[in-house]
Structure formats: structure tokens, C-alpha cells
Amino acid sequence: MSNSILSVKSLKKRFGGLEAVNVDSFELYEGEITSLIGPNGAGKTTFFDLITRFQSADSGSIFLNEKNVTKLNSYKLARLGMVRTFQLTRVFDRMSVYENMKFAGSSIKNEGFLKSLIQTKTLKQQEDHLNVKIDETLKLLNLIEMKDSYARELSGGQKKLLELGRSLMKNPKILLLDEPLAGVNPKLSEELLEIILNLNSQGINILMVEHNIDAVMKISKRVVVMAEGKIISDGKPDFVRSDQKVIEAYLGSSDD
């Protein structure tokens, strides 16, 4: 077994009387595509929110590459290479697709107030070098035709793709995808799976929440199942698929 890059210990989150997340232990191993599945309301998105620090856990700890990041700000975690997408897509509506991508890729230094005020020549050059990568990524995601459209003009599925594209501009080490295939048409889903596999082979670790079970089983090396806030099963796709607890809680018996 390879190294654990993300490690979560007894992470808990309650909403009033509801125990949304109660995860004893969770590890993400280097180089793998891991999928997180489970019924609606199982706590998957909340779990994402907790480990990316978009919400604070009630208790527990999170380690990224052995570094304790339990109290770190969400944007700092993203800078450490853990980048997420959202189940409900969040694109910058009143910016063009191109601008969305450029903003994602631009360096934080260049966004400094003083640097922007003084605006040296190199600033522009440093921005220009992003163009190649933007075009590449947009082509990969079939969005190149929409490059100059406002993001709000995109369809729901295209927004999902844009969000993924934006995350890729950050050169993430860990990519957390919350239902990347939701609303994406079958043909493009196939392509997207290829892309995800490809990204993984380039060394990006992927943790993905997805309800498209065929897709999950096809590309995941490991599947983790959540129900009612807890992890109820964890293992290779075949193992999880035939796990009685998973069939009861999520897959349903007709599936096998």
C-alpha cells in the first residue's frame, strides 16, 4: 500500500440533532482514484466541506501530508494543493469563461494591491503565459468554443466542466470532485472519465463523490461508502459492490 497523503481522524459534525458526519478514520492514498459514494444526505458533501475547511468540524483532526491542517483557512489548504469543486457549481457568472480560467491560474502575488497599482510590464507577461494552458484545458473539456462567452451563458453541464477546468489551472495535487458527472451528457461523461484517469496518471490524486455507479466502479481503485455520516464500507470496487451493507443502504438489490 502506498503513502497516505490525506488523513482524517474522528471527524464529527452535527447540525442540531443530526449527525451529518462522524468519520472515525479516513485515509487517501497516493496515486489512487478514490470514490466516495452513499445515499442522498449521507454527509458526503459535508465531509468535503470539512476536509477543505469550508465548514469547521466540531471535533477531529485533518492531516495533509503529515501536516496538521485542522485549523487552516480554506484558501491556504487550496494553496497547499488540495483543490475542490462544488456540487452546486460555482462559476463567476459575470466573467467570461476565459477570465474564469485566467483568474484561477493567476498568481497570488500578481493579485496584490500594490503590484496591481504599479503594474509593471512583467505583470502582463506573467499573465500571458497562462494562455497556452487555458486553451489546452478548454480544448480538453470541449469548452474552447465558449471561451469568450459569459460563464452564466453556459449550460449546467458546461458549468461543471468549467469548474473542473478552473481547478486544473491550480495544478492541484489532490482534486476533490463533488459529482463531476452530474448533468454531463453520456458521451461527454465517457470523455470526462478518460480525462480523470489521465489526470490521475499525471500524478493528481483524486477523491470523487459521484452517484453514477457504473462510472465509479469503472475508474475507481477504491470505493468508500458513507451512510448517515459514517463510513460503512471501504475497499476495491468489486468488494464494495457485493458488500451486503452497501446493497442495503445505497445500491439496492436490483443492482446486482
Partner: protein, 348 residues
């Protein structure tokens, strides 16, 4: 119709209006309107950085304007309070102004730090409260601020710098040279501020602010410090507000507890909404239109009351400006220069 053409027509009409609606010296009224328009315009530009660029709701602009003004005025020679205690020494005016702007920005920092982490509405509430607290503090700390008696005789620091030809020109056309000087400086400042803002708007920083306005969480997810960006924007807009406050008190020649009241903020917002949220020049144009309308409402007041007192004037102003904003929001919500896409009253 092209929006710039609309703006141009409105401006031309207002000029005609100003010159022909007054028998008592059109020039004087003209300079008065233009000066106030410049001051409100500058203030509206500050709010535009907050709201138009970043999506921050600031309903306490009067406080930022006030703290800048009081800081500057107290640092230059002035005469204070009921007894008119004369303080004849002070800093050079440019330095005092810079410190005034810094004071405004620091108030922005103070209010922003605890609230900008929270949802947008908190900032709105805190700024409303802060403006009221500021007004009460100014009123009650009479030893420092002169309270309701205020501060007078500080204008020389500015008027000493007035070139002779302005004085000459004013005499020829029977207008107030002091006001003309303040008005000119205000409009120069607007041009200067707009040049800087135009630069910032298309810079990576400006783009980041727009992203914050659209979706703060997405900004965070991309590793950018949204709170810092909001704080910077808040401080910048506050400082611009401070500058307008400084010009406001130099225009009056006095400052007292009643100068920076909540209705000032309301009027500045009105100017911003009329001109167009988000666009660079919109707020200044909106302020010109706003002041032409104010002049118009005073004419209406004279129809309604034989010789309207200050309170009646203010009442009529208030009603008409309110109606106007309503109509503007219904029929042209993006303002006159604004981009339709720009105005979305959603606050993150």
C-alpha cells in the same frame, strides 16, 4: 439609444436648466451645484468600489467621510467649539489630507476585520450602526470635535493655495472664488481617482475583486484570500469617501455634528444608483443629475410653500429623491451609465 448619448443629453439639459431657471446669477448656482455634485460623485465612487466592484454593502459612508474630514481639519489651523478656541499651528494641508485618508481607511479596517468574514448583511448592519455611533461621538466629545458648535476657520489652509486667476475669474462672473476653488479641486481629484481606479479595475487585483463579488467561496477554493481582498477594497473605498468628506467640509467652511448624518449616505447611494453601479464614470454623472434634481425639488418647494424653510426643503427633497430611486430601479435598474449585467442586488 447609446448610453453615452443619453448621458450627454441629460448633461446638456441640466446645464440649460441651471442657467435659465435662476434669475439670481446662474454662474453662482452653477458652481454651487457642480461642487456639490463633485463631492457626492467622489463619495459615490467610493461606494462603487465597495458595492459595484466587490459586492460589499456599506450603509455608513457618512462615517468614513466624516472621520477623514475631522482628522484633516483638526490637524490644520482652526478654531474650535462654543468658545472658538483658536489653534493656530498645524500640519501642512497635503500631509493633513493624507492622514485624513489614512484615518478613513483605518476605520474601514476596524469595521471590516470582524465583519468581512461573516455574511454580507453583517457589514451592512455594522456600517449603519458605526455611522450613527460616529455622529454621536462627534456630538458628545465636544472638547475634541467642537460638538454641535463644530470647527470653523480652517479654510485658509486650502484657500491660500488658490491661484490669482481663479479669484479674478470669480470676480468677473460674480461667483464665489472659494467655492470655485474647492469645486475645481474636487473634480481634479475625481479625474485623478478615476485614472487610478481604471488601472486597478483591469488589473489582476480588480479581477479578483469581481470574482469575490460573484462567488466568494469559489475564490477561496482557488486558493485566494477573499477576506483580504474584501478588506483592501473596503479600505480603498473608505479612503475615497474620506477625500470627499474633506472637500465637503472645505466647501461649507465649517464642520459640526450635523454635517455627517445618515441622510448623506442615502443621497450618495441615490447618486450611485442614478449613475449606474459598477461603471467607472457613472457615479460622478449620477451625482451631477442628482444635484440638478435637488435644485429642481427646491423649485417645487417654492411652489408648495411660500418661503420654504430648511426643514420643508429637506422634506420635499427626501420625498422626491425616494420616488426617483424607485422609478430608476423599476425602469432603468442599471442606472444611466451602468451595464445591465452589472446591477444585481445580490450580496454574498
Amino acid at each position: 439609444m447609446n448610453k453615452y448619448f443619453t448621458a450627454f443629453i441629460i448633461l446638456v439639459l441640466s446645464f440649460f436648466y441651471i442657467f435659465f431657471s435662476n434669475d439670481s446669477g446662474g454662474g453662482r448656482v452653477f458652481v454651487n451645484l457642480l461642487t456639490f455634485a463633485g463631492i457626492y460623485g467622489l463619495a459615490a465612487i467610493g461606494i462603487n468600489v465597495h458595492f459595484g466592484w466587490t459586492g460589499l454593502l456599506n450603509f455608513g459612508h457618512a462615517a468614513f467621510m466624516g472621520i477623514g474630514a475631522y482628522t484633516t481639519v483638526l490637524l490644520i489651523p482652526h478654531s474650535l467649539g462654543r468658545e472658538g478656541v483658536v489653534i493656530s499651528t498645524g500640519l501642512p494641508l497635503p500631509l493633513a489630507i493624507i492622514l485624513g485618508l489614512i484615518a478613513s481607511a483605518l476605520l474601514g479596517l476596524l469595521l471590516g476585520l470582524p465583519t468581512l468574514r461573516l455574511r454580507g448583511d453583517y457589514l451592512a448592519i455594522v456600517t449603519i450602526a458605526a455611522a450613527e455611533i460616529f455622529r454621536l461621538l462627534v456630538r458628545d466629545f465636544e472638547d475634541l470635535t467642537g460638538g454641535v458648535y463644530g470647527i470653523i476657520q480652517f479654510s485658509d489652509s486650502l484657500q491660500n493655495s488658490r491661484p490669482d486667476f481663479i479669484t479674478q475669474f470669480s470676480e468677473n462672473y460674480n461667483i464665489s472664488s472659494a467655492q470655485l476653488w474647492v469645486g475645481l479641486l474636487t473634480w481634479f481629484s475625481i479625474v485623478f481617482v478615476l485614472i487610478i481606479l481604471a488601472r486597478l479595475k483591469k488589473s489582476p487585483w480588480g479581477r479578483a475583486l469581481r470574482a469575490v463579488r460573484e462567488d466568494e467561496d469559489a475564490v477561496r477554493a482557488l486558493g485566494k484570500n477573499a477576506v483580504l481582498l474584501k478588506l483592501q477594497s473596503f479600505m480603498l473605498g473608505a479612503a475615497i469617501g474620506g477625500l470627499s468628506g474633506i472637500f465637503l467640509v472645505f466647501n461649507y467652511g465649517t464642520v459640526q455634528a450635523s454635517t455627517f448624518v445618515p441622510v448623506l449616505t442615502f443621497y450618495v447611494w441615490a447618486a450611485l444608483i442614478l449613475g449606474g453601479v459598477g461603471s467607472l464614470g457613472g457615479p460622478a454623472l449620477g451625482a451631477v443629475i442628482f444635484w440638478v434634481i435637488i435644485a429642481g425639488t427646491d423649485t417645487i418647494s417654492r411652489f408648495l410653500f411660500e418661503s420654504p424653510d430648511g426643514q420643508q426643503l429637506a422634506g420635499v427633497r427626501f420625498v422626491i429623491v425616494g420616488l426617483l430611486i424607485m422609478f430608476c430601479m423599476i425602469f432603468k435598474p442599471s442606472g444611466i451609465l451602468g451595464d445591465k449585467e452589472e446591477l444585481l442586488l445580490d450580496v454574498k
